[in-house]
Assembly symmetry: C2
Amino acid sequence: MTGSELESPRYLEDDQLTIRCVVTVFKTPHVATRNLLNKIEVPPSDITENLGRLLEGEEDTDVAFCVGGETLVAHRLVLAMRSPVFKAELYGPMLEGRSHVVTIQDMHPAVFSALLCFIYTDSLPDMDDNKEGSDGNIEMIRHLIVAADRYSVDRLKLMCESILSERLDVETVVTTWALADQHNCSRLKDACLEFLTTSDVMDAVKATPGYKNLKKTCPSALVDVYEKGMAKLKQLISRSK
Amino acid sequence: MTGSELESPRYLEDDQLTIRCVVTVFKTPHVATRNLLNKIEVPPSDITENLGRLLEGEEDTDVAFCVGGETLVAHRLVLAMRSPVFKAELYGPMLEGRSHVVTIQDMHPAVFSALLCFIYTDSLPDMDDNKEGSDGNIEMIRHLIVAADRYSVDRLKLMCESILSERLDVETVVTTWALADQHNCSRLKDACLEFLTTSDVMDAVKATPGYKNLKKTCPSALVDVYEKGMAKLKQLISRSK
């Protein structure tokens, strides 16, 4: 909940915020636990840590990727269990023997490395520490959407869509919409449309280089935006009547 | 917190329980999120689901275990990343080639199968649905402590120690103590000692078959219990003076 929402008269009364807590008391604690002062705590799952070390350690790897002049190694089993595209590529009928070298076109090594990190650990490298996200991070997230779409790593794609949807602004919304459109990110497209139609930003957006560029290179995408934006605006108008 | 703890005068005043909540309001919400009605939710990590399917699917397995007349298959990579003992056994210098058949002595196939399940998914099979635990489940948990100790799967061992520590009773506490002692479960041993010394149960415990059996087969373990129990009781007495 944002600060402004919280400060609305709906929640504040006499400048006081009342929070109601429901506390459940279990009436019959287990006989044995009643006397147990030192409960044995079980640490959280460490399976992603184990997988992360497997990737870092580079032990027993059985596939190598050449990406933009760099070589990155991995385990076919892990890649195949996490991505149906890798599974088809690495266990397909055309492939035999134990060692594979695969050349990856059109991808920066840092992006492929982040993709591998996500595949092994279900989280993004580093960027967690820097949630506000510099421009460089946002650029990486865009590239990761492309990579996640290419290898059908759906949770990574959704994670990137979520991050971009929270960073939408006048400068980038059209570029983000085009990216979402190209890589079948329906949720991110919805978020872009919502940003465009529920904020009063359209005039500012039209003045951005992103908009002008898209109008030149792919006007059909803009037509889509306008069509859906118009439909959404009409809905809003009819609801408010 | 148990009901009786909550009802103590330390928390109740005039039969009222006051709960203080600290609410943090972030003063500068991000411009872009302010208008976003449909936040894109990222589903929880599915990596253990992927690993679980790998075990169930039995695809691309490279090791087979003969356990009590049954054959169970698995992936050496997963076993090695989760257990240093499996790593040494399956990747040791003595072993070559792609296929391995390993015979496991002194273990029931159901126990080994549960161990595999934990190794792949970081959780116990089925028993989660039945938290109160029938006697059969408790027996399985005991066997799993032995298996976890044998393969150095530390989190599984702690999880089983935690479950047993919550099920301690007069009938089983001595048997549980002997098991904990044999498999280096220091936390569970502490819980047993605590149960014996802070409850008034020693006379009842002495009448159980478990106690009589241990007195016959391994009296030195009982001596340990008494030594540590005495020391603990002395501590309690000196504290209460």
